[in-house]
């Protein structure tokens, strides 16, 4: 931790004798708490400097505009872009919608094919489904068992009819990092635009829109210790990418996204990017240490645990682990002092286990037993140690009451049993 963060953040006491009052937050891929420094930067723009950044004729407006433009430059800087290429949105979902829908609609007379990947976020997949209904063709590429796309398959899928290739940089469930520069090169060679959902990647891994030949990039505020309700879309200027707007109005954001900018939220996103750019290196190192401690703590004491997704090509803040014979939701109930998420069907409204894990070829029964453990900027070593203790002891307890664990201990192959599906 750098000295500047130490003043802002008070780690919670979480040693085992002194049980924490509030649950420990281990769900950093769902959202992150705002960095207090981000809040400090935002505060003046609610009451004191409340101007409309689009008011061109008075100092209230200029003051707000200046703040928004500074933020735009901070966002551009962390991805190696020009500030004129940044469009503010309400979040990564809107950015993904605008990028995919906007490009597809604008170029539909020339190209009508889109390539994406089965493990993308629902807001990408659902937008693609929507476009399919409107007559576009979409190719959904599979992933290998480590969660990464096969570049040869990608190369074969992109044709001269492909307008857009959309591949996320970092997966939200398993944290694996796709080969961005290689994908960018394939797209550029075929004349297809490369869009990437970087909600989970910005501030976690170095990104450079030039080196990676990225044409459109979605950014989220609340995944990087910034506020919720704000995001950005990077839209390349040279060669120019054009979009059909989805929100029409006063023509703000160069006509791509009308509506008055939320100055404090924009400032928050900019500040979050600036902090991330400065601290990414040291933060990644700290998280890698904590992540390895977490993983070792679990695997030293439990057998039959499986890491989902590639271990090496992965952001340091994510672990996704299947605990054989222990259903994920019941484990979450047991470790209620930890806020985590699970790929278990029972935690979803659809009663289907995680589609991401299924796409990796993870057996359904193991998909039901997965936990996603996300650590981040404010996670401490004591919290990790406490979490290891909680998880290990409750997995053991639940295995003691699992009929499947008995069978595994007896050496029975679960696949050999004729289960009555219900």
């Amino acid at each position: 931790m750098t000295p500047s963060t130490e003043t802002a953040i008070k780690p919670r006491k979480t040693d085992r004798a002194n049980r924490p009052q509030a649950p420990i937050y281990l769900d950093y891929q769902a959202t992150t708490p705002m960095d207090p420094r981000v809040l400090d930067a935002m505060m003046p723009y609610f009451i004191e400097k409340f101007g409309n950044p689009h008011s061109r004729n008075h100092s209230h407006g200029w003051e707000a505009e200046e703040a928004v433009e500074k933020s735009r430059a901070q966002i551009a800087s962390i991805i190696g872009a020009d500030e004129r290429e940044i469009v503010f949105t309400s979040g990564a979902t809107e950015s993904n919608n605008l990028a995919i829908h906007g490009v597809a609609q604008f170029y539909k007379d020339r190209r009508n094919h889109i390539v994406t990947v089965v493990t993308e976020h629902k807001c990408v997949l659902d937008t693609c489904r929507h476009l399919e209904q409107q007559g576009f063709t979409v190719t959904y590429l599979p992933v290998r068992t480590n969660g990464l796309v096969d570049l040869e398959q990608l190369k074969a899928a992109v044709t001269d009819k492909t307008v857009l290739v959309s591949v996320m940089a970092v997966n939200n469930e398993i944290g694996v990092i796709q080969p961005m520069a290689e994908i960018g090169a394939i797209c550029r060679a075929r004349g297809a635009f490369f869009h990437t959902d970087c909600a989970q990647a910005v501030g976690k891994i170095p990104l450079d829109v030039e080196a990676m030949k990225i044409d459109l990039m979605s950014i989220s505020g609340h995944k990087i210790y910034g506020p919720k309700g704000v995001g950005a879309l990077y839209v390349r200027r040279k060669p120019r990418v054009r979009l059909q707007a989805m929100i029409h109005g006063g023509g703000q954001e160069r006509g791509m996204r009308s509506g008055t900018l939320a100055t404090p939220l924009c400032v928050g996103l900019g500040e979050a990017c600036a902090i991330a750019e400065r601290e990414m290196g040291t933060e990644a190192e700290k998280l890698r240490g904590l992540r390895d401690r977490f993983y070792k703590g679990i695997t030293d004491r439990l057998t039959h645990v499986y890491l989902n997704g590639d271990f090496e090509r992965r952001i340091p803040g994510n672990l996704n682990i299947s605990f054989s014979c222990v259903e994920g939701e019941s484990l979450m109930m047991a470790i209620k002092s930890l806020s985590v998420s699970s790929g278990s069907a029972c935690t979803s409204a659809s009663l289907e286990p995680s589609y991401v894990l299924r796409a990796l070829g993870v057996e359904e029964e193991l998909a039901h037993t997965s936990l996603r453990l996300g650590i981040g900027r404010f996670t401490t070593e004591q919290e990790v140690d406490y979490a290891v203790e909680e998880i290990v002891s409750h997995v053991q307890k639940l295995r003691d009451m699992s009929p499947l664990w008995d069978m595994v201990q007896e050496g029975i192959d679960l696949k050999s049993i004729q289960w009555a599906a219900h």
Partner: protein, 133 residues
């Protein structure tokens, strides 16, 4: 998932967790569900000569409501005759535990487990009788 207090109580203090000797003549074992669906229940009963269930044990792989449903089922069947136990309805379990609609199948599974255990016990008895004849 917001569970009722009764589900949480059965989940945190499950009754009758364990196993009976599945090879014993007076024990019936029911194994229902599938790992791929996310829940498997094993429910066992020990039946006295008078046809009354003397003991019941369970082990469950599944969510909180699956564990609670099987825990409750073992509690209910103890002391009942086989015929009485066979009348156990999933709706009673669901109602008692105030299961949310998406979890009704957990109570169905518990009913199935009880029935499968009774069936297994009766099949054993029939076989024993056949051997004796």
């Amino acid at each position: 998932m917001a569970y009722s207090e009764k589900v949480i109580d059965h989940y945190e203090n499950p009754r009758n967790v364990g196993a009976l000797d599945k090879g014993a003549g007076d024990v019936g074992t029911g194994l229902v569900g599938a790992p791929a669906c996310g829940d498997v229940m094993k429910l066992q009963i020990r039946v006295g000569a008078d046809g009354v269930i003397q003991d019941a044990k369970f082990k469950t792989f599944g969510c909180g409501s699956a564990i609670a449903s099987s825990s409750l089922a073992t509690e209910w069947v103890k002391g009942k005759t086989l015929d009485e136990a066979a009348k156990l309805k999933n709706t009673d379990i669901a109602q008692h535990l105030s299961l949310p609609p998406v979890k009704i199948h957990c109570s169905v599974l518990a009913e199935d487990a009880v029935k499968a255990a009774i069936e297994d016990y009766r099949a054993k008895q029939a076989q024993k009788q056949k051997a004796a004849e």
